[in-house]
């Protein structure tokens, strides 16, 4: 957790699940689409309205499947402007540093899908 709590801060392990699941709800619990629809999009819109970054803390879970990350962050980029998504989201990922690059690649590639 950051020393000074930012206004828009989302910790997936405590606010959604410690065990993020597959792509969509039909495939299993805690899916990426569920995360996008119930939490991520609302928090993203609040941050955009306040013109503040949304800090997404990815630490504390048991790991993320590609399908979860693509469905949630790639899904967000399919609903909103990709540059806005890239400029608004900031990530904390000390446990698995490559997640940030990975997520950003799903956001950039979202326009192709």
């Amino acid at each position: 957790m950051p020393a000074v709590m930012p206004k828009h801060y989302l910790k997936i392990s405590t606010e959604f699940s410690r065990t993020p699941g597959p792509r969509n709800p039909s495939e299993g619990e805690f899916s990426g689409e569920l995360f996008l629809d119930t939490i991520l999009e609302k928090r993203f819109q609040n941050a955009v309205t306040d013109k503040q970054p949304l800090i997404v803390d990815l630490d504390g879970t048991e790991g993320y499947a590609t399908s979860f990350l693509e469905a949630s962050f790639g899904g967000l980029a399919r609903k909103h402007d990709i540059n806005l998504v890239l400029s608004t989201l900031q990530f904390i990922t000390t446990e698995e540093p490559y997640l940030e690059d990975e997520i950003k690649s799903y956001i950039r590639e979202a326009r192709d899908q």
Partner: protein, 186 residues
């Protein structure tokens, strides 16, 4: 650079002192002046310091080499662990919740091991580590093959197996290349 240097300087000082004392005491006359003797002592000290510096440098490189090599072995172990879980799931034609969790854990461990390797390689003196970005790229592709698509709802198909195997071979190849580079770096 502590006691060996002090011991050497002390020893050299004692030898010189004894030599000067004997020359003075018994009036032995050699064609060697005190100045020449001191010159010799300075030359010996410089030679000692030079070889000591070279040895220190070699020791540091050897230690770096060992640390990097150990970390590469660690990454290879993680790659093999992830492959084993993947093959078990492929052969079972199903990915249960527990297996899905193990696959994610394996990938996370692998990611952390590669991340540490990257950090170590940026701090090491051997440059350039062109294999590290390739390893990172292969890891991301490997993760995509293992946990992308409709993971874990749909079992792995032959196509997944073949793609994952190609990626695995490349990962191992790049890790071996990196190990060779580390072992043979000057």
């Amino acid at each position: 650079m502590k006691w060996p240097l002090y011991a050497f300087l002390f020893g050299a000082g004692v030898v010189t002192g004894v030599a000067i004392f004997l020359l003075d005491q018994f009036n032995w006359s050699f064609d060697v002046s005190v100045i020449q003797l001191l010159n010799l002592l300075v030359a010996l000290t410089l030679a000692f310091l030079f070889q000591y510096y070279i040895k220190q440098k070699t020791d540091v490189r050897k230690a770096e080499r060992e640390i990097l090599s150990d970390q590469i072995s660690m990454v290879i172990d993680k790659v093999n662990a992830a492959r084993k879980t993947f093959i078990d799931c492929y052969q079972a034609h199903a990915i249960g919740a527990r297996q899905a969790s193990i696959i994610k854990m394996d990938l996370r461990n692998l990611s952390n091991a590669i991340s540490l390797l990257e950090t170590l390689s940026t701090k090491a003196r051997f440059k350039p580590f062109t294999a590290v970005p390739l390893i990172k790229q292969d890891y991301l592709l490997y993760k995509r093959i293992l946990t992308g698509d409709r993971f874990p709802a749909v079992p792995y198909e032959l196509e997944h197996y073949l793609d994952a195997d190609k990626c695995y071979q490349r990962l191992i190849e790049n890790l071996m290349c990196l190990n060779l580079h580390v072992q043979h770096a000057d």
